[in-house]
Amino acid sequence: MARRRSLLRLICAIVGTVLLAPTVSVGQCSDGSTALWASRNVVRQAGNQVWEYAQSWVEGNYYLYWIPRVTGTVTLNGQIHYGTNTAGYGGIATTQWYDAPSSVGVGLYTIYGFHEYGSDCGQYQYQNTVASLLVERPTISGPNATWWLGGGSDPANGYYNGATLTADPKGAPETPYWSVTANPSKVSLSCSVCTNSVVASAQPSAGCQWDVAIKISVGGLDSNLFNFQVNQPSYLVSSRQPVDTAQGGGWYSKIYYNTKDMCNNYMSSIALNESFGGWVNDQANNWSRPTAGGASGFTDYEWFDGIWLDCATCTPPTMNPQTPLSASAVDHVSQSWRMGSAVVGSGVLVQTNVFQRYLDHARHQ
């Protein structure tokens, strides 16, 4: 018998119920089988539903001689519920509440149970119980930014147009529901009911700021807003003076740049390309014209536009760079620079300039 009661107490401890032995009775309202039970718990039934309850009851051969009563108090940063329930003979006294954390709040839900038992034989017993459950908002983790590169990524150089965000439902049973609550046109989500969602860029942010907000919801309980932005290559800065060197009987001009993003940071090693408009002659010439190209895979922050021509038989003939450089313009063309792709015409436009060729050098203007 003692072993069976020990086993019972162990089970009670596991399921959150409490067993109390009755005191010695005046009449015959109890025997070795009489057990005074108390149960209480806080249960997350759904993401946005918390059930708090406390119960008292009696079991055993004489349970019909007992009246159980329970008083429950629920706190969440202060008292939010209080109630008492008295059962009839042999009944179960219950106090219970259902709360929506989205309206009541999140935090530590605690129920305090005060359990009383009275018998027809004048016996009176009581016990206190307590149970708690931390209810948190679901959270999102992951990068707070991604790149807009005109629709693609530049994986060879480590620039991606998407970021994987991970949801933590914080104990809620539902699969999180994702939504974009601010500037939804700037990003798209790979899935809306899932744990991991890839946020892909669709447009750049309006500057380096968190102008996109993302949230998840579990059964109606929302996460805090997750700040996000879509960065992009923004502009070119001249990194140093152009260098002009002799190339055979002609010239080789290198015009140096750094690329900066919207946050005013240097971008290293990004794929880029140029494209040309229509050429305009500044003087009669038969100079061949270069075709637009792209580059990728350079290191460091600096890249250059390298332009050379070695043509002594052309009209006008090329010259080695003079001191001072010649001011005799030969032809020019509108030139556009795009970042994020080495494919001509793809990527984000960051600069349009005039590509000007002279007798002994070339410049961007």
Binding site: C208, N227, M267, G297, F298, Y301, W303
Partner: protein, 369 residues
């Protein structure tokens, strides 16, 4: 033997037809080149010819840094490009060459990406042996040997553009020779070389070098290589040492300094945004130049929102914008007032300025002791 026939044709016909090429390029990764190349050698191009998208030349090997070729031997090397090289003989050249074996032939790996002329495919080196200070043994690690050759060239050659290229290449090598090379350059008599040396040291976070730069004005600010110093501060120097922050603060708030350096220092302060940086950033909120005010706003916001220090290695992955656990000053409001750079600020700068000025007034006593 095709290239020899080409040379003969060239000489006979007196051809001098050049074709235009243009396009973007940049420095190739020396680490990747070193790993890919089967032969890395210092050698002399004795003769060669280029036509269309192909150049062929004979190379006499002087010092072999990687590979089983014997110094003093010669090989024929080919280089292919998508660009049009025109038709001409290649001038003699001495340099550091990265070469890959393709069957029984040798192919040149260019040290420059993009469609570039042949002159950009190798790193020019001075004649003769490596100077004593950078001398190395054949058994030394490849990185040390490469760094020694490049350092020797940086000190010994005066070719436009070469210093910048060597600076970029040296920086990719993890060798104790690199710092020695930068130190040597920083003590050179020519201001340009000194600027490159200081730039290299500053890139590595050397506070003494940053301090020394301030003693070099105005001479140093007048050489083209000064831009390397500016970009080293702007893009690389991220020491959170309070002494370094104080020096950056002095640079950023000194109206007499060359403006690019002041802007670079302000950007570094923004990127570092430690508590010690805040008084300088607060001063810059009232700076007359919007470049400085923008950096100040960004730095204050980055501090309040507990963002990581922005470094070269966390720009592409945008980790410097990743929200860590909220800091003691992080609120919904500070997040709403995070703005970095011109595009975010130029249309509504006053709102951000007012917010961060007020924020500083509220929190200054907690942050400055």
């Amino acid at each position: 033997m095709n290239w020899k026939i080409g040379v003969v044709l060239y000489l006979l016909c007196g051809l001098a037809v050049g074709d235009p090429s243009a396009g973007p390029g940049g420095l190739a990764s020396i680490g990747r080149l070193a790993a890919t190349a089967d032969l890395i050698a210092v050698g002399d191009l004795k003769s060669g010819f280029q036509t269309g998208g192909r150049a062929v030349f004979s190379l006499e090997l002087d010092r072999v840094l990687k590979g089983s070729q014997t110094p003093g031997s010669g090989i024929q090397v080919e280089w292919k490009t998508h660009g049009n090289l025109g038709t001409s003989a290649l001038p003699p050249a001495r340099g550091l060459w990265f070469i890959k074996q393709a069957g029984t032939s040798w192919e040149l790996l260019s040290v420059t990406t993009g469609e570039v002329p042949f002159s950009d495919t190798y790193l020019p080196l001075p004649a003769g042996p490596v100077g004593n200070i950078f001398a190395y043994a054949p058994s030394d690690p490849l990185g040390d040997k490469l760094a020694s050759e490049l350092a020797n060239a940086a000190v010994g050659l005066d070719i436009p553009d070469l210093g910048f290229r060597i600076l970029g290449s040296l920086d990719q090598l993890t060798s104790p020779v690199v710092s020695k090379a930068y130190q040597q350059l920083s003590e050179a008599s020519a201001a340009g070389r000194r600027a490159l040396g200081f730039a290299g040291l500053i890139r590595k976070g050397d506070l003494a070098a940053l301090a020394a730069v301030s003693q070099q004005f105005p001479e140093m600010s007048l050489v083209p290589e000064f831009s390397a110093v500016v970009s080293a501060v702007d893009g690389f120097f991220r020491s959170t040492d309070p002494a370094a922050v104080a020096l950056l603060g002095q640079f950023a708030t000194n109206g007499a300094l060359p403006r690019p350096l002041a802007y670079a220092a302000a950007h570094a302060l923004r990127s570092i945004h430690t508590k010690e940086a805040l008084p300088y950033l607060a001063t810059l909120l009232d700076a007359p130049e919007n470049e400085l005010r923008y950096e100040a706003i960004g730095g204050m916001a980055a501090f309040a929102n507990n963002l990581p220090v922005q470094r070269p290695d966390n720009v592409a992955n945008l980790e410097y914008l990743r929200v860590q656990s909220p800091g003691p000053f992080t609120t919904e409001d500070t997040r709403a007032h995070l703005a970095l750079g011109r595009q975010a600020l130029e249309h509504d700068e006053a709102r951000y300025l007012n917010y961060w000025r007020a924020w500083w007034a509220r929190n200054k006593s907690l942050l400055v002791r």
